[in-house]
């Protein structure tokens, strides 16, 4: 029964992927991609990885889908150029064979992975009490592999600045992204008024429970970002200009808090990013709170894009 379910789900994912690649128009392709992401989230649930399922649904399908849609709306035409650049059947066959070989090699490699599978599960669980958290993923992300997470948070700052730096010089200092007209009534405006209070509670809740249950800063931050984007698109909230100090501190608060707590580890514990067991959980929650804010801010800015409006 479950095998059948997995089989159907697997086939559906591959089917949607094929369709997304094959369909000629951009818009349905993006819709197909969002469906693909949601199906993948289901697969993650089937694999027992609810944290990843939440991340995939929120970031992989949701946020990625939004920026792809934004791009589709703004990229019009180019059909002739695209057709001219389409590779011929022989090139496509060569590419197909090459990709097939890669896929086949992967399949062989996966099927010949050793049994029983090596696992760090026991080690991860053994040290969780020292951290005061119950969600093993949070333990890995915040403690054992904290450096990965810190660098990843910095990557988000890189991305925001890199995106901004693509702007034309004359737009520097302006508001990021297009400015949407205020929708004083209509369904979008209603949604943008109704949903954010609920969404903000849900986002903070998901970030908060991350210590002990599936959830965390990236999932919660994405929900917060979605609320911000909704209010922005409905014209109810104006993004601060890129020159805004407050905005920039919001983007860097998470990684800075991470580094700050990490450096305190030199004084109070066994070195960088090491938490004294007595206050490990409050420290982790502190970092998570700052990171939630920064993730949300960075995501809104990444969706909005480089500054386009007039100088503020």
């Amino acid at each position: 029964m479950t095998l059948l379910l997995d089989l159907i789900l697997g086939l559906a994912v591959v089917g949607v992927a094929v369709w997304t690649l094959a369909v000629r128009e951009n818009f349905p392709a993006v819709i197909g991609f969002v469906a693909y992401g949601l199906l993948l989230a289901l697969v993650w649930v089937r694999l027992g990885a609810v944290d990843v399922a939440l991340t995939e649904a929120a970031l992989g399908a949701g946020a990625t889908g939004v920026i792809l849609l934004f791009a589709v709306v703004r990229l019009r035409g180019g059909r002739a150029e695209i057709d001219a650049a389409t590779p011929g059947p022989r090139q496509r066959l060569a590419a197909g064979i090459l990709c097939g070989v890669v896929g086949l090699a992967l399949a062989v490699a996966v099927l010949s992975l050793p049994d029983p599978a090596p696992s760090q599960a026991a080690a991860v669980a053994r040290h969780l009490p020292e951290l005061g958290v119950a969600n093993p993923i949070t333990g890995v992300l915040m403690a054992y592999r904290g450096l990965d997470t810190l660098l990843e948070a910095v990557v988000l700052v890189f991305a925001v600045l890199a995106i901004w730096s693509m702007a034309p010089d004359r737009r520097w200092g302006a508001v990021p992204g297009p400015v949407f007209p205020v929708q004083s009534n209509g369904p979008l405006s209603l949604l943008a008024r109704l949903l954010p209070p609920i969404g903000i509670v849900v986002g903070i809740y998901i970030a908060w429970v991350g210590a002990d249950a599936p959830g965390g800063k990236f999932q919660g931050g994405t929900i917060l970002a979605a609320m911000g984007i909704l209010a922005w698109v409905a014209g109810l909230w104006r993004l601060p200009p890129v020159a805004s100090r407050g905005l920039r501190w919001a983007v860097v608060a998470g990684p800075l808090a991470f580094i700050g707590v990490g450096l305190l580890g030199f004084v109070f514990a066994d070195g960088f990013l090491s938490y004294p067991p007595a206050i490990a959980k409050p420290l982790i929650l502190l970092i998570e709170a700052a990171m939630t804010l920064s993730v949300a801010a960075a995501l809104v800015l990444m969706v909005a894009g480089p500054p386009e409006g007039r100088r503020a």
Binding site: Q120, V155, F158, L161, A162, S165
Partner: protein, 491 residues
Amino acid sequence: MEATPGGFLLVLILVAPVTGLLIGFAQGGRAAERIALWAAPLGVTMAMVLLAGVLHAQAPIVAFVGGWAPPLGLALRADGLAAAMLMTTAVIIAAITLFARADYTTLPGAPEARAPLAFWCFLLALWAALNAAFLGGDLFNLFVALEMLTFGALALACLDGRATQFKAELRYLLFALIGSVFYLLGTALLYGAYGTLDILLLSRTARSDAPTIVAASLMTVGLLGKMALFPLHLWLPAAHAGAPPAASALLSGLVVKASYVLLLRLWFWVMPAALLLAVAPILALLGAAAILFGSLVALRQARLKLLVAYSTVAQIGYLFLMFPLVAGSAAEVAERAWTGGALQAISHAFAKAAMFLAAGVIARGMGHDRIAGLHGAARVAPLSVLAFGLAGLSLMGIPPSGGFTAKWLLLQSALYAGQWWWALVIVAGGLLTGGYVFRVLSAAMRAPSPDFMPAAPVDARQERVALGLAIISVVLGLLPLAAFGLVLIGR
């Protein structure tokens, strides 16, 4: 391996530029510039202390982040190679900081502008990413470092905001992303097979089974794409030549070396010797092709910056000649080849950074970078032409430059190992390099036409920085060979 004293230094050298970047970004362009100016001497000092520490201990310095030992936690390791690369990075970044002040300064009271903020932040960013890439002891952590590197390199290269550059950088991004994906696939398989991604732990357990072989192939192809080894070099010339000079110097001199060091770690640490023996000749063959192809194409370039970029394609090739010479050779020959390879990476970093900076100054002074029209360049920017020539000596491998020592070590070990054909490639590459360097120099030395006017005044300090880097690339060859025993520590 246990954590060693001094591990905090590894953390500081990684965290300091990150913190500087974050605060600089938040506080704006002028703050970022000031932070970068302070970071340069601090960085060189930290790298020197670290290098002295490794030399003193004659063993790698190791830190376990958060006190969690691998396989659960992440290790940072500074062996001799890492210490040498960190030092190289710190010096070149400091030089570029000095060079770039003329282009990207924000005057007091002036509003923040786009390019200066982005430049100083991403200079710090690239520095942090390079440090992370040289120190990282975990294959996934290194993936994150490589991504940081890609983003930073991309942003710096696009700083001028020209459309042609966007196209070149998109091509770079596609190569880099496919490279990342291949690399990541490999790490997934390795984790599935061994339950760890720590380089040292893997080196003790790696087998020659199907998952390992597939992982090794995928990761190697991915990294070769990122470092533009022939025939995956297509993106490099336009991406590096079109960037602003300070960015080109970083990209060509340092960024490609991060993938190289990672490739060394993958093959000389992680993978079992039997696999390495099989793959080494293929890598060297590609390297040889890169040397010959890159040099020949460089010889035919009409533009100075593209010539320098194709020269990078060629010089990257030398880095791969060491693979078959280290693998399976007697210890003494292997040590020579290893030292030669590492020294080539270092001396090329200095020489290529000098060359790109000099080319940038020359292009600005002349108003263009067409080689045929460079007559009079030696009069407009004499020190830059001198820097170009000195750096060229190192690239050609003429004594007493660092490039000479590197290529001489490789050549010797090729002969000792009985693989004389690589020696032929080294000599041929040197001759071709001489050809394209002299082409530029002879054009630059020519007297200009009587009505010649420089397009813009050149900045004397920028010229001196380029010359300084070129001199370092030469002086490296005057150091006693024992000094390079450093890169053997922890091998």
